[in-house]
Each structure stands twice: as structure tokens, then as C-alpha cells.
């Protein structure tokens, strides 16, 4: 276990695609157990930022750490859960198979995985749909199983990219409840959103981002 006080720490993180600056200069720190909102209009660089945190996109400059470990250390991601923005999964898998696959990728022991999958299906209300193919899931159901996928490893940090986009009010409520529950258990949550109303309700702190730069960080 690393001793770093921060779940996320970045210094001057930057990403340029060709001549397009997606993230110009990102410096922020997210404490352990904190629910942190990352708020900005579409195209502000939110998704690119979290992709850098998860080693999906390689920074053009600057540095970043999760729990004090560099971003390109794969072992650090065993403590992180991630729900991507456009939740597209292997849609020929059944719901339970999908979760089992991701439990395997987290290298959870079989028995533990089975118990955890049962719990999470219950939590996101998909127990009855576990043996359906993801192809047959609605958008909201996909979002919920994606959320379950991000919680399989009992992460210390959960990164959610626009978690409520495309959800109906009931789905939004569920996401909100889950985030609250995570906070109570001391899990840090990093939420990308373009909706102030959404981060207002759930977050402890929020960073406003525009043109790939943090304009302001405020407590809520």
C-alpha cells in the first residue's frame, strides 16, 4: 500500500492530438475518500483527462499519480474502478459473463468473484437480467452493469465519465445513491460531468474545467 494522501495527483498534465490541444495544463489533487466533480462543457477535455489517468491515453507532458504510483504502473489499477463515457462492451456476453470477465481481469478469486457479482447485480437491480445478453440491454441497463463492473474489485477510487448521461430519473437516483454509499465507505469518486446540477448534489469539491485547463476549484 502506498502512503500517499492523494487518490489522484497530477502536475501540468497535457495532451495534444496533432495540433489540437485537448488538455492544456491539468494540475489537481483528489484526496482519498473524497467525491470530486470534474465539471466542464463538452469538449473541455474531461474524457481525455480521465483517459490519461487510466493509461488509455498517453500524456504529451506533465505527470500524474494514483495513490502515489505513476500512471503507467498497471498494478495501481487493481485499486481503481472505471466507467467509460460511451459504455460499449462485448455485447455478445451475458450480464453475468460480462462481470465474470472483468472479475477475471481484476484477478479476483473465483468464489469471491461469484459472491461479489451476485451482490453487485442486486445493487444495480439487474439480478433478473443476469442471463440476458448485453445486446438485449437497454441503455440504462448497460450503464448500470457498467457501474457494477467498476465496483467489482472494491476499489479505493472510482472514476465515472458522465455516469448519468442517458439515464432516466430512476437511474440517476440509483447512481447518486451508489456514490453516497461509496463516500460513506471512504472510497474516492471522480465524476466527469457537464451538468452542474449533477455534481452539486453528490460532490464534496468541484473543479471547473474549460479548454483543457482548471479554472477554479471550489468546495460545495
Amino acid at each position: 500500500m502506498s502512503q500517499s494522501a492523494f487518490a489522484i495527483e497530477t502536475r501540468n498534465l497535457r495532451k495534444v492530438f496533432g495540433d489540437k490541444v485537448a488538455v492544456s495544463n491539468l494540475t489537481l489533487s483528489v484526496e482519498r475518500g473524497e467525491v470530486f466533480g470534474f465539471l466542464g462543457p463538452n469538449g473541455a477535455g474531461k474524457t481525455t483527462s480521465v483517459k490519461m489517468l487510466l493509461n488509455l491515453v498517453f500524456p504529451s507532458g506533465g505527470e500524474g499519480y494514483l495513490f502515489g504510483q505513476p500512471l503507467n504502473d498497471p498494478s495501481i489499477r487493481s485499486r481503481v474502478g472505471f466507467l467509460p463515457e460511451h459504455f460499449r462492451f462485448h455485447d455478445w456476453l451475458r450480464g453475468d459473463e460480462f462481470l465474470q470477465l472483468h472479475a477475471d481481469l481484476y484477478r479476483l478469486p473465483r468464489l469471491q468473484a461469484r459472491r461479489r457479482i451476485g451482490e453487485l447485480l442486486e445493487l444495480v437491480g439487474l439480478t433478473a437480467h443476469a442471463s440476458k445478453k448485453l445486446r438485449e440491454y437497454s441503455k440504462g441497463m448497460l450503464q448500470r452493469i457498467g457501474l457494477a463492473q467498476a465496483l467489482l474489485n472494491q476499489p479505493e477510487l472510482v472514476i465515472l465519465d458522465e455516469p448519468t448521461s442517458g439515464l432516466d430519473p430512476v437511474g440517476r437516483r440509483l447512481v447518486r445513491d451508489i456514490i453516497r454509499d461509496l463516500r460513506q465507505r471512504g472510497v474516492a469518486v471522480f465524476i466527469n460531468s457537464h451538468l452542474l446540477s449533477e455534481v452539486e448534489i453528490t460532490c464534496d469539491r468541484v473543479a471547473f474545467i474549460k479548454h483543457g485547463e482548471v479554472i477554479r476549484v471550489s468546495l460545495l
Partner: protein, 282 residues
Amino acid sequence: MNSITIAKLTFREAARRKILLAALLLGMLFLVIYGLGYHFIILDVTEGFGEERKFMINQVSNFLLMAGMYVVNMLTAMMTVLTSVDTLSGEIQSGAIQTVVAKPVRRWEIVAGKWLGFAAMLTLYLLFMGGGVMAIVYFRSNYTAPHPLQALALMWLNAAILLSISLLGGASLSTLANGVLVFGLFGVAFIGGWIEQIGAFMPDPATNQTAMNIGVITSLIMPSEALWKRAAFEIQSPLLTAIGDTPFTARYYPSDVMILYSVIYLLVVFVLSIRRFSQRDL
């Protein structure tokens, strides 16, 4: 460990999408047709010749075995490319790869896992089809080719190279561009091989040499046709070897150096596909 998870996923996807089933059914259809055709031809030969019957049966069997293996080689190559061509590019484009890469997984493990999954599939397919053709010929007329295992190994190497190119392309290009790349290379090798073969008949030694050079160069760019020629050489009858020309083999069959080159080619392309996938943004 993670590679095994990915390999199993790859296998399961092929099964789920009924790709395995389709390949198996078509393969069986081919074997049935081949078996019937072979049976009747041998029947004909058996009736038509007296003294040299055994000799004729062996020659005809050898020729038909090579024809069958030629088709198997083609089908295996096709199956390998068609199933693997969009595995990386498709998942990158859809974003399905993101939740996988965001796990405590190294990127090379994903590429290696996919490679293993497809390699397992093509191995089974090749054994089923190639083994089927050889078994039909063996059980019908008790004929075995000189070096069947060597031939299968060379055909496997050909498919494994195509698979690796397909993964390298998939890590860099769109599915469509990747398909064009792999089949393009395959086509280049094919044409190069035939130019070499036809050129060998030309009376003018200069033309002869040029054709051979084209053959060598295309084999270096893409060794698939050379590998087939060598595989065919391994199964052709000693008589054909003595005569030197058949529709399936060249007068000059590819050397051991060419096989070594192909193995190195496979390794280099595989390593490049890992590197490419490890360095790209997703």
C-alpha cells in the same frame, strides 16, 4: 494469466457469433464433397488400369491430396484473416477495449491473448481440415504423402503470419484498411509466386531470372506463397519431384532459409503489433 483470459474471450466470441459453427459446417461440406470426388476418381482409376494400378492410384492420390491441401491452405488463411481482422480495430473503435485496458492488465497481454485465441482456433481448423483430407486419402486408398506433418506445420506458419499481420494492422488501422492491407499482401505474394513459376518456363534466361527475382522479392515482402510451395513440395510424390513441375509447386522450391526467414518474420510482426498497441491512445 490475463492473456489466457483474453484468449478464452476470443474463443468464446467466435463461438457465440457462430463463426466456429459456420467454419466447421463449411469445412465438413468441403470434406464430404472432396471425399466423394476422390472416391469416384479412384474408382475410375482402379477399373482402368491393370499392371500399374497401384502406381497410378498413388500418383492420382498424390495429385488430389495436393489439390485438397491447396484448398485447405486457402481456407485456413481466409478464416484466420476474416476472424481476426477487426478484433483490435473494432474494439478500439467501439470503445469496448477501454474497460479492459483500464484493468490491472498490460497491453501486451491483450495482444498476446488475442493471438493465442486465434492461433488455437486456426490450429484446430487446420488439423480438422488438413487432417480430414489426409485421412480421406489414407482410408480410401491407403496412401500417405511423404511428409504430411512438415506440410501442416508450414501451412500453420503461413496462417500464423497472416494472423500477426492482421493484429498489427488492427492495432494501427481501421478494420477496412486492415482488410485491404492483409489481403493485399496475400495477393502480392500469390501473384509473385505465379510470375516466378510461369517465368521458369520461359526460354529466355534473362526473363527467367527476372521472374525469379520477382518471386524472391515478393516472398520477402510476404512469405505466404513461398510457404505453400514448400508445403506442397513436402507432400508431393518423389516422381513429381523428379519431373519438377506441377500446378502446385515450383521447379525451385523454397529453401530452409526461407522457412527460417518466415519464422523471424512472424516474430517481428508479432512484436511490432504489441509495440504498436502499447504505444497508441485508445
